[in-house]
Symmetry: C2
Subunit: 204 residues, 2 copies
């Protein structure tokens, strides 16, 4: 049985939960109380020395880094497929997972953490402005890739889209909503309306 | 035929070249002249909108992000294997590739770029010190994982090790050489001595 060490407010945890719901993978949720710094206990650090969530544990096998977990779940539970068949489709999903982490998750973290957990007087507006500009630049590239299609890879719902959902949820905190390019806005609305997205909205 | 758009000084290009040498994959090298900002020409941006190297092109298929390229090469050219068989071994390699990019490549870039291409008077010592401390922390985790084994995953040479080689090459620029933990020092020396590493030393 899979044990998923996670927190419902964690964007990286949420993408794994969404994939598990889509694939209907039985698992046990282990709540890691980040507010109590439970990710820094010796027990948790023995699982994941980076003190981050999520961590997957399955009969002694331990895996962290959410994108690696997503690909592992795909390999072990191939139905319904969330990666197209063949090396090229898989590689494209993989590329998008890495771009989501590098171009979206990093600046998104800068903004989300401050805006959700700090009073406004404590926000570092310079770092928020810089992160917001990075995200806007990335959205412009995504918008081109989404021209005439509903999803990022082979025009079907894949792990590449799932990886973005937790960040798209906070898009109104990150960029001026009126500035979101049309294809990204359409894609985001469709993704956020899926049952697996609605079931994992943080703070319900 | 694969065309690899790359630059010999690029750490991310080098890891792909090493895997190609290990697997003896026929390909054509396309030199992207970063000094002349050739990565920002409309032709290159049409291939890779992030203006980075390397980019792989193969009969109309385009793939960027070096770690995704490494996994794709493994899928298309499985011999000699640089990933252990089975979903778990593959997932562990994938996890290490992501950790290398997040915990090593990012702070390494901060240091390498300044120390190699800027005069010492222009170095930002605060950012270099912070990056160096991050790398030292990561090396301590790697050192534990390398206790009693020669390689990161299943004690055999895999893409996980290859991903680190271009950064280990610059380790003396990044942390005090006397402070490198013993297992990491041994691992690094073994990796850097391989023919595929020697053949790709930058600036030969």
């Amino acid at each position: 049985m899979i044990r998923l060490h996670a927190h419902p407010f964690s964007t990286f945890s949420r993408r794994v939960k969404i994939a598990m719901l889509e694939k209907n993978i039985p698992h046990e949720d282990v709540f890691v109380d980040l507010a109590k710094r439970q990710q820094r206990t010796p027990e948790y650090l023995a699982l994941n020395p980076y003190a981050r969530v999520p961590t997957l544990e399955e009969d002694g096998f331990v895996l962290y880094e959410s994108s690696a977990i997503l690909m592992y779940l795909e390999d072990e539970h191939p139905e319904p497929a969330l990666v197209p068949a063949g090396a090229k489709g898989r590689a494209e999903v993989d590329m998008h997972l890495r771009l989501c982490d590098a171009q979206m998750a990093t600046p998104a973290g800068t903004i989300i953490f401050q805006k959700r957990f700090f009073p406004e007087a404590k926000w570092n507006l310079e770092s928020i402005g810089k992160a917001s500009a990075e995200i806007a630049k990335h959205l412009a590239i995504l918008d081109k890739q989404l021209e005439g299609v509903d999803f990022l890879v082979h025009d079907r719902y894949t792990l590449a889209d799932i990886a973005y959902i937790p960040f798209l949820h906070f898009l109104p905190l990150m960029v001026d909503p009126a500035s979101v390019p049309a294809n990204v806005a359409r894609w985001s609305a469709e993704l956020l309306a899926r049952p697996s997205s609605l079931e994992t909205v943080p703070g319900q």
